[in-house]
Symmetry: C2
Subunit: 349 residues, 2 copies
């Protein structure tokens, strides 16, 4: 006799249809009609997880439209959208590496209450629970690894170097700035509100910070903040800020291209007109996708956990409760109204 | 009694005044009034050389104007212009490392008949004279090292990779294409005349070549020539071609920015609008100045001399006779009328 399956509700956040331009909350739908069996079917090799925390990521904006399809894979209307961080609990496992009740995180996450993970090798076991669990959707997940890979691996900082970080109060930026200070660098951040600028200077320990929305000539602004030039630019925004930074780079400067949030809703990107500086200043621009660098995760964790525990790194999250709040949280992020890492609590346990 | 000095004429090519836009031959002046003593003054530590061959280089265009001053150091009107390769004979030396009659080459050269080299450490002795002496103003000088550093050191080619070279029949491009073939890569070049395209395919062994002036949509052109995408782009032109190449790069592609000749006479550079691809495709763009890499010269020479001697690398020069022909030769280069490395013979011995 086949045992009766326990079916529960499985709410999902789905894209209604491809968007044009900037998205709005109503482009997303909380679909409540689906259910999931709490036991995996016989013969499955997967892992069934209950999602606890989901990460909201700027690049999700690109995946809602079709026009950016040369850059990102678009979401499928009617299917759950996908973000870049989840913390989850194993509900059932057909894979010998995972047991019911274990906590895991992953760098890819469907926005739904329960997910069946068909590639369990993409799950990381959460070993250290002395820190808030939500951190594994951010500083101890893909977000943190992004800051680490981009800053340390690609930019190879040296003590005393001048570092510029855009979108600096964001999930990645706040960490890059603090890593730069840990490395003995001088660091300036840009952000888009007065509140964020205060946070950068008073909480994250940036040497200086400015509100780019109040600046008319970003090139001149950067000249003012970096009279000795920029050695490392950690670029989260692209476009006009990238162009201004390139003009202000020092010889042998390094630019880590982590994301280009200013470009995500444009049908045609802003033109960067001064790439000739790459030649004359011997600059290196390196784009990266953190998912290529999971091999560095253990090294990163070894570095960052003690820093968190000793209070040497601080980390600000902007947390909303419930999957029903997820579409609004994503719009907060896209329009820069979040402060710190935007996370959605789907369930607390 | 002080010995009488032997004075000889020392013609120079000087910039009359800063130019706007594209230069013309009459912006340069052959100044014939100067003289030079053929003996260095007592107490000098310099080396007096007679220039034999001078290299014409595309980036010299930038140095004739003031508007590109954020990129290149402008020439001083009334002073000899400076190119990026000379072959010379030592006439007198106050430096124990150099003796009268020795042949040398250097990566920087004032355009004049005789020069006093105040930093003799910038001179390289010419050891191998089995090859044409003019080669040290090109393939065996800065030009060759540029191709070597950009292709091998920065792009780390692997057998079977797809390589695109712009300005491919030029001094650097023709070598990059041949190095790519030596490395077992598939290589396509672009150039601006039918004659150059023939040369690329029939003499330099490029797998394919196209005339960019006949193409309306460079992005589509590159899609056609690279159905499997581009792994390495050796960029000599920048601007629209760079943008088209970026769209066609494969994941983890590498772009060596050697020069951006399409941008040199523009007051404002062409905007490259798709840098977001750097992130999504994990691309690396690296600018470089060959003068930073002279440490690699011995390694390069060890590789390239046998290839030349065995006829495995061919090298085309476009040689004009006499310093009086130098301004015209430079304009030939700037307007793409040269075929191969543009060299000026100042003297044969």
């Amino acid at each position: 006799m086949v045992p009766a399956m326990e079916k529960v509700r499985n709410q999902k956040v789905v894209l209604k249809d491809y968007i044009n331009g900037f998205p709005k909350e109503s482009d997303l739908l909380l679909e409540s009609s689906g259910t999931v069996d709490l036991k995996l079917p016989q013969g499955s090799n997967g892992v069934l997880v209950k999602n606890l925390y989901l990460s909201c990521d700027p690049c999700m904006l690109c995946q809602m439209g079709k026009t950016q399809s040369r850059y990102f894979q678009s979401y499928t209307p009617g299917s759950p959208i996908i973000g870049y961080g989840r913390v989850a609990r194993v509900v059932d496992s057909a894979n010998s590496n995972f047991k019911e009740g274990e906590l895991v995180w992953a760098g890819v996450a469907e926005w739904e209450e329960y997910s069946i993970i068909t590639a369990p090798e993409t799950l990381f076991k959460i070993q250290n629970t002395d820190v808030p669990l939500s951190y594994y959707a951010g500083i101890l997940g893909l977000t943190g690894l992004t800051a680490y890979v981009g800053f340390y691996e690609l930019c190879a900082p040296k003590k005393g170097e001048y570092v510029f970080v855009s979108a600096a109060s964001g999930a990645v930026g706040q960490l890059v700035g603090q890593f730069a200070k840990q490395s003995g660098c001088y660091v300036v951040g840009s952000a888009g509100t007065k509140e964020k600028i205060e946070l950068l200077k008073n909480k994250f320990g940036f040497d200086e910070a400015f509100n780019y929305k109040e600046e008319k000539d970003l090139d001149a602004t950067l000249q003012r903040y970096f009279p000795n030039g920029i050695d490392i630019y950690f670029d989260n925004v692209g476009g006009k800020m990238l162009e201004a930074a390139i003009f202000n780079m020092n010889l042998n400067g390094r630019i880590a291209c982590s994301g280009m949030v200013s470009q995500y809703s444009l049908e045609q990107g802003d033109g960067v007109r001064n790439l000739l500086c790459l030649v004359t200043k011997r600059l290196r621009m390196q784009g990266f996708i953190t998912g290529d660098h999971f091999d560095l995760y253990p090294k990163y964790i070894e570095m960052v956990i003690p820093l968190i525990q000793q209070g040497k790194i601080c980390y600000v999250e902007d947390i909303v409760e419930g999957l029903e709040s997820a579409p609004a949280a994503l719009m907060r992020l896209f329009s820069g109204r979040n402060v710190g890492k935007q996370v959605v609590v789907v369930a607390r346990a």
